[in-house]
Symmetry: none
C-alpha cells in the first residue's frame, strides 16, 4: 500500500487549519567557516518565537546530496515522492509563462535556430533574436494546424518559446530534437511507445511546417524542441488529504504547480503583505494554505548575501499576522537551499519549524541551520512533512489496532 | 534481497543474550511548552545509568506522523516492516481474548444487532446487552456447523464477540457485513478472490444460521462481522534471527502477537517483579527475551500524567535485576508514544536506549525524549532495532568481503 493510500485510509474530519509557508531557497551557507548563514545573520524575532514554541528540524528535499529544482522541491513539500513523480522541463517552462496546462497536454521548450541550405544547424539560438522578433515568429507558428492535435505556441523571450500539444492520450516519451551541436540537422522526434509515437508525429509535423513558415527569415528559420513532458498523472492533494487547499503564490510556476496538484489558486496582490491579506480572506473557506515567498531564492541566486538577509527579515515581520489567525499547524520551510555563496540551488538541508499545540517542543530557541540540527524533527525527507502536518492537526487516526 | 534474507545470511552462532524491554506507549509530551514529559519528570536513576552506559536515540514506529496501534508498533520492534505486514482488526480482537489463533484462521469481530421484521437493522449494538447475555447468545452460536470449516465463537463483552473460521487456504479479502447504518439489512459478504470467496460463503452461512438461532430474541436477533483478517504469513522471528525467543508478557494481545511471530510464551505472574522472576527462570533456555510492560500505555491513555510518571519509576526500579543477569544487549524502548496530554497513542518518536559492550557510547546521561535527541542512534525506523540488537550481540557477520 502506498503512503497516500494509508493517509486516505487514516484521515479524520477536523476543522483545523494548516499553513505551509515556503520561503523559496531558504537554506544558506556562511561565507566563511565559522560564520553565519543568511538566516542566522537575519534578525528574526518572530521566527525565533516559532522555534521556541514549536519543533524544529532540517528537511532533505529529495535525498542527501541531491539539489532539487523548484518542481521536485515543491512536489516533496506537497507530500509526493519527488523521485517517483518527475516534472519535465517542458511542463515547468509552460507553467512559468502562466500557461493553463491540463492533463492532456504535452509541453515542450522550443528554441529558434538557424539552419543552412542543407538544413544543418549553424546557430542553436538563432543569433539570440530580440523578444519582439520572438513574438512575431511565434505568431506565425500559431497558424500551424496538426490533424487531431490542438496546438499552442507561446513566446518566452529571445530564442525561447513554449509549444503545447493537446489531445487525449498523448505520450511524452519523445526525444529532444535539438542535437546540442552545430553542423548537423535537427533530429527527428521518435516515440518510445505507441502513445508517444503520436506525439512524435505531431512534433515532426510542427517542425516541418515551422521551417516552411520561417524560410524567409535570415536567422530564425527553424526550430528545435526539448524536454517534452506531460504533468504526471497523480492523485490530487485535496483528494489524498481531504483538505480544501488554497495556493497563495505570486509567480506563475508555483501557481501552476499548485493548480496541477489540485489546489485552488487564490487571486492575490504581489507583495507579501497582500499575500497575507489573501490568506486572511481565504481563511474560512479552506483548510490548507500554501503560501509561497519567492525572494529568499532570487536574492540567493543573485549571490547577494545582504539582500537575502533583508528578504528574510521582511518575511519575519509578517509572521505575527499569520500566527494571529491561529493556525492549528504552521510550518515554515523552504523547497531547497539557495546559498548566496553558491549563487544557485543546493542540496543542503533546509531549516524547518512546525508550530502546533501537539508538537513535542524541543530546546531550539532560534530559527537557523545550526540550531535546527538539535531540533526534534531531526533531519527528515521533505515528503514526510505533509504527514507530520496532518498528524499535528489532529487529522490522522491510528494505523492498525 | 530482503533485509530478513540478509540477516539470515549474515547471522553467526553466539551465546549472547538480548533483552528487548518494551514499555508500552513510553514516549510522552510535556503538559506545557518548556515543561518535561512523563519520562523526563520521573526519577529514573537506573534508566539514566543505561543511558550513560549505552547509546540512545528516538525510534519512529512506522513513518513520521503515523500513529501506530499496538500491532504495527510491535511488529516493527520485532524487525518486520509494519507497512508491509498488516494485522487486521479481527486478529487483534481474537488475540485480545487469548484465542489461540493459528495460520489457517480467519478471525472477525462480531456484533450482535437488532433487525426488524423486514431484516433491516434498527440497533447496530442490539441495545448493548449485558455480558451475561453475550455469553448466552455465543453459546447458542457455538452450535452452528459449516461444512469443511471449523468454527469458533467466543464472547468479548456486551454486544461484541469474536468468530474464527478455520480451514486450509481461507482468504481474508472479505468486506465487513456491518453496513455502519440503521435502516438497511446487514451486507452480504463478498470475497475478492477465490480463496476469500470460500470465507465469504462461510460468513454468509454463519449469519443466516445465527439469525435462525436468535430469532426468539427481542434485541440480539442478528449479527454483523467486521475486520475479517488472517495473521500475515511471515517468517518467524526465530527463523530469521536464529534466536531462541521467549515472550514475557501479561496481556493476551502481546502474548498473541509474540506467539504469531514464533516466540515461546513464558508462563508468568502478572506483576513486573514476577515477570523478572520469569526472565531469570528462562535465562538459560533462551537467547532473546521480549519483556512487555503495559502500564506506561494504560496510564497515558487515561490521561493521568502523575500515574504514568509513577509507572515509569516502578519500571526503573526493576532495571538492576535485569542488568544483574548480564545481558549482552539490553534495549529499553516503547512500541509508540502515549502522551497523557493526548490520552491516546501518538506519532511522536520513542526514547530508546541500547546497552552493550559494543555500543558507541554517546554523551547522553539521562533517559528522556529531549536527551535522546542527542544520542548516537539518532532518529531511526523501529524496524531496524532488531538488526542493531543482533549486531551489538556479536551475532551478525560482515556483508560482502
Amino acid at each position: 500500500m502506498t503512503v497516500h493510500d494509508l493517509i486516505t485510509e487514516l484521515r479524520e474530519e477536523a476543522t483545523t487549519k494548516i499553513v505551509l509557508l515556503v520561503a523559496d531557497g531558504l537554506g544558506g551557507l556562511a561565507l566563511e567557516p565559522g560564520g553565519k548563514t543568511e538566516l542566522e545573520s537575519a534578525r528574526t524575532p518572530n521566527l525565533d518565537a516559532c522555534a521556541r514554541d514549536g519543533v524544529c528540524g532540517l528537511s532533505l528535499p529529495v535525498l542527501p546530496g541531491i539539489t532539487p529544482g523548484s518542481g521536485p522541491g515543491h512536489l516533496a513539500l506537497f507530500g509526493y515522492d519527488p523521485l517517483r513523480e518527475r516534472i519535465g522541463r517542458g511542463v515547468l517552462e509552460a507553467l512559468g509563462i502562466n500557461f493553463d496546462l491540463g492533463p492532456d497536454d504535452v509541453a515542450a521548450r522550443g528554441n529558434f535556430c538557424t539552419v543552412d541550405a542543407a538544413g544543418k544547424i549553424t546557430d542553436r539560438r538563432a543569433g539570440r533574436p530580440s523578444t519582439e522578433q520572438c513574438l512575431a515568429m511565434c505568431r506565425r507558428l500559431q497558424g500551424i494546424r496538426i490533424p487531431d492535435v490542438e496546438l499552442f505556441v507561446e513566446p518566452v523571450r529571445e530564442h525561447r518559446f513554449v509549444v503545447v500539444f493537446r489531445a487525449k492520450g498523448l505520450g511524452d516519451r519523445v526525444n529532444d530534437t535539438d542535437p546540442q551541436n552545430v553542423g548537423v540537422a535537427p533530429l527527428a522526434a521518435v516515440g518510445q511507445d505507441a502513445a508517444s509515437q503520436v506525439t512524435a508525429s505531431a512534433v515532426n509535423r510542427f517542425a516541418q511546417e515551422a521551417a516552411k513558415l520561417l524560410r524567409d527569415q535570415p536567422a530564425t528559420n527553424a526550430v528545435t524542441l526539448r524536454g517534452l513532458a506531460r504533468f504526471p498523472a497523480i492523485r490530487s492533494l485535496p483528494d489524498i488529504y481531504g483538505l480544501r487547499s488554497a495556493a497563495i503564490a505570486v509567480y506563475p510556476m508555483y501557481r501552476g504547480l499548485a493548480r496541477l496538484v489540485g489546489m485552488d489558486i487564490a487571486e492575490t496582490g504581489s507583495t507579501l503583505g497582500e499575500q497575507i491579506d489573501t490568506l486572511e480572506r481565504e481563511w474560512a473557506s479552506h483548510d490548507f494554505f500554501f503560501l509561497h515567498y519567492k525572494y529568499t531564492d532570487s536574492t540567493g541566486e543573485d549571490g547577494n548575501f545582504a539582500a537575502k538577509v533583508e528578504t528574510i527579515e521582511r518575511l519575519d515581520a509578517m509572521i505575527p499576522r499569520v500566527r494571529a489567525l491561529g493556525p492549528s499547524v504552521l510550518v515554515v520551510t523552504g523547497d531547497h537551499s539557495t546559498p548566496s555563496k553558491l549563487k544557485g540551488h543546493s542540496w543542503h538541508p533546509v531549516p524547518t519549524v512546525l508550530v502546533a499545540k501537539t508538537a513535542r517542543v524541543d530546546r531550539v530557541t532560534e530559527f537557523g541551520e545550526e540550531a535546527c540540527l538539535r531540533g526534534g524533527l531531526g533531519q527528515f525527507e521533505a515528503k514526510h512533512l505533509m504527514t507530520l502536518a496532518m498528524a499535528h492537526a489532529g487529522r490522522l487516526g491510528k494505523y492498525g489496532a
